[in-house]
Amino acid sequence: MTVNNSILKVLQKNISIALSSRDDKNIDRFFQKILGKNNICGFDDTEYMHRPIHLVVCVNKVESLEKSMAMSHYLHVPLLIIDTQTRPDYIPKNKIFTPEFTYMQIATDHKIAESWGVEGYHDVLDFDIMNSKTIKEWKETLNKIGHQTFKTIKETENNNEQYSPHIQ
């Protein structure tokens, strides 16, 4: 599936996403408006998918981060984490886990971003379906992250570093 998805992703230019949950109908409708009905599927559909997935979208990291990361890694596609809820008190700030591969984090408002630690966020964007500016920003964001190459963070950090072998 990894190889198949990687090939199909290159051949199809329009972004398709796998949403961690389709329970929130507002979010579902919002993405349908941006990407088109056929370019969204839930995790349960992905097992049988024959179409490419460019991006895994995790809505609320409290609920489905682990599964979304596994799916991202399996398909070799970037992960977009969208937080719509503030950090619950039972999760200490210093224990927040971030993926070690290509990902992006967006909060739907500043209060949510601050509760998790604003420095971890790439952007703040809401789901205002009537606002054309918001829709344009979302389109640009999805296009940007969706066409990125899946990579591990370690590799991108150390990319050009040269070092010398040392004797043990």
């Binding site: 990894t2 190889v3 190459t149 990319n159 040269q162 072998p165 040392h166």
Partner: protein
């Protein structure tokens, strides 16, 4: 002359392993041959993705309007056929040659499957169905010969120019004859004129300490007084291509005791540098280079203990173990040749393995 093709290449080029180097070299060769190529990294093993030559990474950003060929360098279970491409090519470089029916049918999906080792091809001839085997094609591992030969002056800073360094790559496990190699070195070569560099892959600091104690123990049981600066030096890690080149260029003789059916980057590098390579007679290195200095093999105890398992896994080289006397004689000969300043031309037909040979695969 093969016309320019638009190629989609998926492979483990971010892995710093033999597979990673192999993948990198294929990409460089395809680019050098003038093909348009887009690359996508695949992460398929536990090797840490790390530092890699940055000169191919720009190919990830390339987007072509149309693709003619798709090359999949991955586990055969992941091969897919896509009728969009004129040609679907697979690169089969897995060590475990599993005669599984799914592998058979997956190989049949592709138009051509490239295998980088003649030894492996021989094994696969017995395992695969004849109609599948027909699709296999030998395609050797490649290296940028001119690039290597132009950098002959570059060496590691800490090596002693006056010392003769033997170099080997191994894992400290029973599958490698590492104890034999170290014993032969300690008892016959360790002096102010020689050194032994051993490269291994990411093992723990604790294990390194134990190995060092074991090496000192071997010296004392052989009643050899350890000379600290001539004791075997262990490089532990995965290195980028340039660093591997520096290690190879700083050494004088490669002792390839790897039993896998894969040629290593170092064996190609040593051949390109016209330096001697000592290897066991059934190795892939020996099948690549006609002037490999061959060490006799003996049947190993592991065949007697686990014979059937080994036969079933078809990993033929694990049957063998190096003959210490033959290893010693060959090491001595190479060392003497150098000591006597004999100019030996280890003509290994390295140009057969130059990047320019890549067009044969398309």
């Amino acid at each position: 002359m093969i016309p320019t093709k638009n190629i989609l290449y998926l492979g483990p080029y971010m892995e710093e392993s033999s597979r990673g180097y192999y993948s990198c070299m294929n990409i460089k060769a395809l680019e050098k041959a003038g093909h348009n190529i887009k690359i996508i990294p695949l992460y398929s093993s536990s090797y840490l993705p790390n530092k890699i030559s940055s000169d191919i990474l720009h190919l990830e950003e390339k987007n072509l309007e149309k693709y003619d060929v798709c090359i999949q360098h991955c586990n055969p279970l992941q091969y897919v056929h896509n009728s969009y491409f004129e040609q679907n090519i697979g690169i089969y470089d897995f060590v475990n040659l599993d005669p599984n029916p799914i592998v058979n049918s997956n190989l049949f999906l592709l138009d051509k499957i490239l295998v980088n080792s003649p030894n492996k091809l021989t094994i696969l001839a017995d395992i695969l169905a004849p109609h599948v085997f027909e699709r296999l094609q030998y395609s050797p591992q490649l290296i940028d010969v001119n690039h290597i030969q132009n950098k002959k002056q570059e060496k590691l800073e800490w090596v002693d120019e006056n010392r003769f360094y033997f170099y080997s790559e191994l894992e400290f496990s029973e599958q490698y004859d590492w104890e034999k190699l170290i014993y032969v070195y300690l008892t016959n070569f360790m002096d102010k004129n020689t050194g032994l560099i051993i490269k291994t892959n990411n093992i723990s600091e604790d294990k390194i300490k134990i190995i060092k104690q074991q090496i000192y123990g071997m010296a004392s049981s052989a009643m050899v007084k350890p000379i600290p600066e001539a004791m075997p030096q262990v490089l532990n890690g995965v290195y980028d291509e340039q660093t591997m080149f520096l290690i190879n260029n700083s050494s004088d003789c490669f002792i390839d005791i790897n039993k896998a059916n894969e040629p290593s980057y170092s064996s190609l590098c040593f051949a390109a540098l016209n330096k001697p390579i000592i290897s066991h007679e059934n190795s892939t290195t020996a099948s690549y280079f006609k002037n490999t200095i061959k060490v006799d093999n003996m049947i190993s105890n592991s065949l007697i203990k686990h014979g059937d398992d080994i036969m079933n896994n078809s990993i033929t080289n694990y049957y063998y173990t190096l003959n210490s006397e033959s290893l010693l004689n060959n090491m001595r000969k190479v060392y003497q040749d150098r000591h006597n300043k004999n100019q030996i031309n280890y003509d290994n037909d390295i140009h057969k393995y130059d990047l320019s040979q890549i067009n044969y695969i398309l």
